[in-house]
Amino acid sequence: MIEKLKPPKWYLGVIISILVGITLRICLGTNPYSGESSPPLYGDYEAQRHWMEITSNLPVSEWYQNSTSNDLLYWGLDYPPLTAYHSFIMGKIFSIVDDGDFMRLYTSRGYETEFTKMVMRASVIVSDLLLLFPSLYLVTKIDFTHSTENDNFQEDVNQKKKGKKNEKEKEKEKNKLHKNKQKNILIWNLMLLQPSLLLIDHVHFQYNSIGLSLIIFAYYLACQDKWSISLVCFYLGCFYKQMNLYYAIPFAIYYLTQLIKKKKYRVLFLSFPFISICCISITFLPWLLTSADSLKQVINRIFPFERLIYEDKLANFWCLISPIIDFRNDFSIQITKLFSLLATLLFSAPSNYNLARHGGQLRFKFALLNTSLAFFLFSFQVHEKSILIPAMIATLFIQDKELSIYSFWFILTSAFSLFPLIQREHSELAYISAVGIFATAYWLIAWNQIKITNLTKKLLLVNSLIIILAHGLIYIQITPNYPDIGELIFHSIIGLNFGLVYIFFSYKQFTISSNLIKNNEGSENTDYFKKLK
């Protein structure tokens, strides 16, 4: 009897993936963070450290107030309370570093040593491990049939009808299950390598992964019919960073339509309001207990209404249209706010209407992507880093057989769009590594096995080449009259790409095959990546 080679246990693959993720993140972390060695203001790293300092040393009522110990002009807290609580915990933990010098009020401004840099980087990695890794792993376990042709759906239906299976088929199924597990782990790895998240979180230094993975948990739980916990996760995500409100409209519509369709009125009319009141009150408890004014101050810090429509150059509609119509300088703030509100609602309406009318998990995913992209392109006070929000949903599309290549296109472009930010802090090496690793990994895992035409591949390559060549525009000065025009052209190319992505994914959303809607809404087994190599 020939002894068959037993495949290694699946958990070995999981452990290796985790270790690879940790090693990569540590290596990226050796690069300069935002504002390294640049007094007087430094950058985002110093902002995070300062918040830890403020929250661990001052009482809660003073966190959002301007005072002598808390100068709001030097990186005042402008995220919702969950960030403040997180900074509080981190601050308390880090106050043992260097005998408290790291977190000492006022004197620790601009505190930079090799050890503390590694400590801060480690805190981001730990938050990644606890939240991002599990959430994406759960998402890979949902197998969707997203292509318009129903590959194995009919086969699986027949399979289920058969009933009893004999030994051989059981063995075959076991092998298939094992192969599916391996594929899922590979796709999980690919999702974890998303370059924009790596660059912002581990190089530029922020804690976006916490908020985004809470949203992913909310999405996953909504797909698994666990509505209350999903709502809690969504609230937590939004209370971590207010940017996550970009996802609010699709979530609201999905909750409403699904609960009404499934006739879960008790959940909708009892649990949801109760949970909302609980979450809001628990999060804002300290400020609710003090006074209405302190609450007002918190809201003012979170949603600053007197800022301009955009700050630096980014691939936002209002910024790119500025050579023609300069919204920032020529119009008053009220008019620009109105314009941006109308434009945002206008461009997120079609996708959400489609979601409201038809519903379904697949449409939910599409609506999240399209809405957040519309918000990015047309909203008020958008920052370059907000591209993470649509990019996170795009990573969920990587496991989709037909749309994988387009999500790859979008994620790559979003990583490219972060180049000026990364270049300002001299971390080009990290940029090259993160983008290169993602592109290579995608090529190795998926390129040859996905059914895409040669034309699509060539278009993608040409597009990427154009953008890569356009990187040089950031460095050179074309004319002395307009010193930033190179950057503007770069962002225009990227903005064009984003617009095309929006149009494409909207089109895909409207043309989802009606077969899927009639039947299950998507928990069929699929057989992607036929060759596992």
């Binding site: 002894e3 070995l12 452990i15 270790l19 690879v20 940790i22 590694m118």
Partner: protein
């Protein structure tokens, strides 16, 4: 950046340029591995999988030395692997040319010299004429003609055509001399004697002592350690203070065990390399898979022997042995096991090279990831890989973790002031035990090519 006398010059541009240039050197390495992969096929399938490529490209020892400690080894290894693949393809002249090129890039490649010399002598110079005839008509990837070669080689007597042999020797000498000429001429034309003396004294510094300041994990580390231990046990004192201070110094004096001179090390190394000569002369033509395997095995053994018994070996030299061995990881369980071992022990012994806090974290994570990855990869290739590794070998590897933690704690403790060299000594001696064990198994494997060990049923 290139101004003379600009010591300790640092700028962002310099760092980016140097880091990127080392990264770009991985491209030739990848190309060379692909090239070798095509020609290492046996009749019954590929012996080189994608995961094996990761064993070399992501080798922790190579990354630690190349990208962090900073050398340009990937380029040289790529030229070496090209040389090996041309030798396997029976294009011996190109192979020798590339070998001379890499030898002129870094003279440590002299470790492989004996293997290339005898392999080329046997298969090219003293090759039976019949092979030339049959080789011209055959597919050079050696697929499918092993049986015909077997028949021909057993039937046709070895006939030497001396005129052909002399022509071939002449060609070899011309290639070698031309490469060395191009490499050395700009220096030698400024004064033959003085330049040559200067070059050789820089290239082969015999005044630096038996062991490097961080003891390489070879036999002399164990020798030094045993000497010190016996010295303490037998109570003899002597002028050995500088040896344990970890400083590069002149001729070390051993008190209890005999003193080692450069001549001793040379003799011992050559003795251990003698079996290689017999093995290489006994091989059949490269049409056979076994020949290709034996060739790569022999160059790895030559490097490991020279590492074990050489004079003033640097720990980076362990890469010379472990990288070629990775090429054989999917061939047999034995090669997989020793390659697995050597990669991990080699990377562990390179730890003292990088000592800043950030590098400490990175190197530990990298070794852990690589160990698990290569274990899983080899388990998927070979039957019973996990049971093939014996319990004490597994124990040896697992004990690395608590020992390393103990070393970190030791460094932060008050005893560290009195015995600053102890952590390095421990790492060196512990790794030397492992490397010696690998060397011994490889030695028995090489010798088993011409001596049958009847008592052992398992592939040793």
């Amino acid at each position: 950046m290139l101004v003379l006398g600009n010591h300790d010059y640092v700028s962002t541009g310099t760092i980016i340029f140097q880091r990127l240039s080392v990264l770009l050197m991985d491209i030739p390495l990848y190309l060379s591995i692909i090239h070798l992969k095509r020609y290492l096929n046996g009749k019954y399938g590929q012996i080189f999988t994608r995961g094996d490529m990761a064993l070399i490209l992501l080798n922790p020892g190579l990354i630690l030395v190349d990208n962090m400690h900073f050398q340009y080894n990937s380029l040289m290894f790529s030229i070496l692997i090209f040389s090996i693949s041309f030798a396997i393809r029976k294009k011996y002249l190109i192979s020798l040319f590339l070998f001379c090129v890499v030898l002129n890039l870094k003279h440590i490649y002299l470790y492989y010299g004996i293997c290339f010399a005898f392999y080329i002598l046997k298969n090219y110079v003293f090759d039976n004429a019949i092979h030339f005839l049959q080789d011209r008509n055959k597919d050079e990837r050696g697929q499918a003609e092993e049986e015909i070669s077997l028949i021909l080689e057993s039937r046709v007597p070895q006939v030497f055509q001396w005129n052909l042999i002399f022509i071939r020797i002449f060609k070899l000498i011309m290639i070698t001399l031309s490469v060395f000429f191009i490499s050395f001429y700009p220096f030698l034309r400024n004064g033959f004697q003085t330049q040559l003396k200067a070059i050789f004294s820089r290239l082969f510094p015999f005044g630096r002592g038996l062991t490097h300041s961080y003891w390489a994990p070879n036999y002399w580390a164990i020798h030094n350690f045993l000497d010190k231990v016996l010295q303490i046990l037998l109570g003899r004192t002597g002028n050995t203070g500088f040896k344990t201070r970890g400083v590069v110094g002149d001729l070390d004096m051993h008190i209890v065990l005999p003193t080692i001179t450069p001549l001793t090390t040379a003799v011992i190394t050559l003795l251990t390399l003698i079996p290689l000569i017999k093995v290489l002369i006994d091989t059949k033509s490269p049409n056979f898979l076994q020949t290709k395997i034996t060739f790569i095995e022999s160059i790895s053994y030559a490097a490991l022997s020279s590492f074990m018994f050489g004079w003033h070996v640097h720990e980076k030299a362990i890469l010379m042995a472990s990288i070629p061995l990775c090429l054989l990881a999917s061939h047999s369980t034995f090669h997989a096991k020793i390659s697995f071992f050597l990669n991990i022990i080699g990377a562990f012994s390179l730890f003292p090279l990088l000592f800043t806090f950030t590098e400490n974290v990175i190197k530990v994570c990298m070794l852990l990831t690589f160990a698990l990855f290569s274990y899983r990869h080899m388990k998927s290739l070979h039957l019973n890989f996990s049971s093939y590794i014996l319990w004490y070998e597994k124990l040896y590897l697992i004990l690395l973790i608590p020992f390393y933690i103990a070393i970190i704690l030791f460094r932060n403790s008050p005893i560290y002031e009195k015995l600053p060299f102890f952590p390095l000594l421990f790492i060196s001696v512990y790794s030397a035990a492992g490397v010696g064990y690998v060397w011994l198994s490889l030695f028995f494997k090489i010798v088993s090519h011409f001596i049958n060990f009847d008592s052992s049923k398992k592939d040793k």
